[in-house]
Amino acid sequence: MIIDLINFTPIQSFLGGALIGFAAFLLMLTKGRIMGASGILGGLITKDFKTDWLWRVFFIIGCLIGPVILITAFNYEIAYKPVASGIIFYIAAFLVGFGSAMGSGCTSGHGICGLSLLSKRSLISVITFVTAGVITVFIIKLLGGI
């Protein structure tokens, strides 16, 4: 195993993670809800959303503005380098949505919230999606990229 020391950012990643955890805690304390991005988005496209959609929109607006504050107030440069394009990118988008709906959660819902609740389902989900992701990336690299 070779560690990528050039891109390794343990301090920023840990602090960012701690903030993500705090956000999840805050949403549970005030609204009593799990902070799962796919669940919060998914709740906006169900038929029985009448009474339960406004907080989701407010949460999403916050998500949009958060990174802008990091850039403007802290003069921080957020790196962005895409790894897929064209048809693969679109297929990936569908799989991410479809899979997180079918598996009842994504990185935030199962990863940050479910594991904090010591949920067995979330543990199995995280192990499964990380393994699937690792195998996918392994195959991509084997094929020399996409």
Partner: protein, 141 residues
């Protein structure tokens, strides 16, 4: 009040995602590339997040109810079913292919609209199809 806190929670979430490196697809793929040149950073995101949230949840869930809602809405399903395994596998494949998952996609909308907007639209379409199919299979079991 609960709406203000929902947006503050979203704001901190988006800020944390950006700081942690989760908005960068190549960093996410670097984390999943354990057989190549591995960037373990995202394990620190997970570690930091769970550490804070597990302690937070521990105290919050001792309360009778949330500050601004009638009750806590927690998942009730406990069994490991086919949908969980298949869904998580499909999600993991998409995550590996594009290096993006739902939270970071939302938080990238203003920063990288050329990628994030179309990804978000297709992802939401995937969410609705996934919901429909998994509901059907629950009813048929």
């Amino acid at each position: 009040m609960r709406l203000i806190f929902a947006s503050i929670s979203g704001l901190i979430f988006g800020f944390g995602l950006a700081l942690s490196g989760m908005l960068n697809p190549s960093k996410v793929q670097g984390f999943l590339d354990i057989f190549g040149v591995w960037d373990p950073s995202l394990a620190f995101v997970m570690g930091g997040g769970i550490m804070v949230n597990a302690i937070g949840y521990y105290f919050v869930l001792k309360r009778d109810k949330p500050l601004f809602a009638e009750k806590f809405t927690l998942p009730t399903t406990t069994n490991i079913d086919k949908n969980l395994l298949i869904g998580s596998t499909i999600f993991g494949i998409g995550w590996g292919l594009a290096g993006l998952c739902p939270g970071p996609v939302i938080s990238n909308v203003l920063l990288q609209p050329q990628d994030a907007v179309i990804f978000l639209i297709i992802m939401v379409f995937g969410l609705s199809v996934g919901r429909r199919i998994s509901n059907q299979s629950i009813h048929s079991e």
